[in-house]
Amino acid sequence: MNAGKVITGSAPWRGTAWAMGKLGLSGRTLVIAIPMLWLLVFFLAPFFVLGRISLAEAIIARPPYTPLFERGPDGSLEIIASLENYRFLLTDALYRNAYLSSIRIAAVSTIFALLIGYPMAYFIARAPEPRRSLLLLLVILPFWTSFLLRVYAWMGFLRSNGVINNMLMGMGVIDQPLVMMQTDFAVYIGIVYTYLPFMILPLYANLTKLDGALLEAASDLGASPMVTFFTVTLPLSLPGIVAGSMLVFIPAIGEYVIPALLGGPDTLMIGRVLWDEFFGSRDWPVASAVAIVMLVLVVAPIMWLQSVQNRRGTE
């Protein structure tokens, strides 16, 4: 029934192949070149520009940084590069604190996401089929709605005259509104809330593969459910825990929107410092240096994760 399609379908493909042969291009090269060139230009090249500007000095001009090459008085080409911006980052307390507090906030949020996400992933993995798909859909559904609007929803929840305070005061639990907005607590909630699906999905994928016979064997041998969980389930789900934690921790380090909307003026996070340095102080070279250091900070845990996975693969 597809005979007609086959005959008419062949002509244009033969034409394309012929045209490419004429140009001296093999199809294979062309297919490799398209994604390769795009990513070289728009993914890799920007980092070289970033690195080069991080070595420049801020000046009031267009563009607002010193050029890399300059004609010396005798007409020779001189390279102007300095590590001044990096020295500044390392000695200035603001930046050091911002890096440290980003790591702290990301780590605390990751632990909370794990504590909330693990029971959910475990329950969904154990649920019978029609219910399991439904619960999984319910976990993913908020992820498809706007990230910005989900953070905004918490602003209405945590404000001093927000939903939580109104409820607690209405019930007579408190008579003064709790200050929750513009605190680190609000930032933790924001990060846990937005990245919870990233924790649950790898854990779920790991826990569904768990062999039920192992649990039965443990209980047959007299282990209580608690003991079984801590000696069998938890160690076996470690790869899921690591993957989920990385998926929360890594994006949380560079987060800008959550500390900007939910955090207070003293909530230091490096993404926010970079943003303010660029849009506020308009110091492009320092902003670039901040980005380079942050890149190192993010790449290190990824490399570690990769090496852990590779070791696991070879074992």
Binding site: P119, T145, F147, I253, V257, I302
Partner: protein, 266 residues
């Protein structure tokens, strides 16, 4: 993990996930300007939204950017995934593997800043792109969305039965023909979900767009962010409700369609 503890923990987890969204929707129908104090049912904020030219304009910009970025990202991501799964050896294979997955974990502030600096240097040395606006946002979004499409396409290409392609080749079809007549139809459902994911991600992005955009090309998240920064405002609740309603209907419809197809296939 038995008894009452697990169900209660799961229930609390789902309340945590959905309570803010539900309150957002409820208070969009609130008559009072105070977002969290109930002042009676009203749809006035929806009316206000329809007359807000800035929001309508930004929504239109966002939809156009998302459409073009998702389409370009699907083409580039699929090609990248195809090359990596089907060509076992070529120069720069390792480089391409790294470049195609790295945007997944790259902090948005870094992607945004580095791309902006690239666009500015390119403008100074090549004269292109002249200024920044929708084109530069589309390029930036395409780059990070292509990574997501590539992951989805790669897993589908790996799991598909390669003997189909071999059979087509044995019957004399050229590589281009094999791709369009055999590979592409098989992976199309994966590409559709990749396109949808890319579309959503582009529509949702605030940080990267803020860096690389120019005058006159403010996206919807940028307009929402500048409103929300000053505090909660009820028309944003109305906008959120429309978006949430749209997403829920779309996701449920997609789920229902997939179930129907699966039961037909069985």
């Amino acid at each position: 993990m038995r008894g009452w503890f697990l169900p209660v923990a799961v229930l609390l987890g789902f309340i945590f996930l959905y309570a803010p969204i539900i309150s957002l929707v409820v208070f969009s129908f609130n008559d009072s300007r105070l977002v969290t104090v109930w002042g009676g049912f009203s749809t006035r904020w929806y009316g206000a939204l329809m007359n807000d030219r800035q929001i309508i304009g930004a929504a239109w910009v966002s939809l156009k950017v998302a459409f073009f970025s998702a389409t370009l990202a699907t083409i580039i991501g699929t090609l990248g995934a195809f090359v990596l799964t089907r060509f076992s050896r070529f120069t720069g294979r390792l480089l391409l593997t790294g470049m195609i997955t790295a945007p997944l974990v790259m902090p948005e502030v870094i992607t945004g800043l580095s791309l902006l600096l690239l666009f500015i240097s390119m403008e100074l040395s090549l004269g292109w792109p002249a200024g920044r606006g929708m084109t530069t946002v589309i390029i930036a979004h395409t780059t990070f969305c292509a990574a997501f499409v590539a992951v989805i396409a790669q897993s589908r290409l790996r799991s598909m039965d390669e003997s189909l392609e071999e059979a087509a080749r044995d019957l004399g079809a050229g590589p281009v023909r094999v791709f369009f007549d055999v590979t592409l139809p098989v992976i199309t459902p994966a590409l559709v979900s990749g396109w949808l994911l890319a579309f959503t991600l582009s529509l949702d992005d605030l940080v990267i767009a803020s860096f690389v955009t120019g005058p006159g090309a403010s996206t919807l998240p940028m307009v929402i962010f500048s409103k929300v920064r000053l505090g909660v405002s009820p028309d944003v609740n109305a906008l959120a409700t429309i978006i949430i309603g749209f997403v829920f209907v779309a996701v449920l419809a997609a789920g229902w369609l997939m179930r129907k197809q699966m039961s037909k296939g069985l």
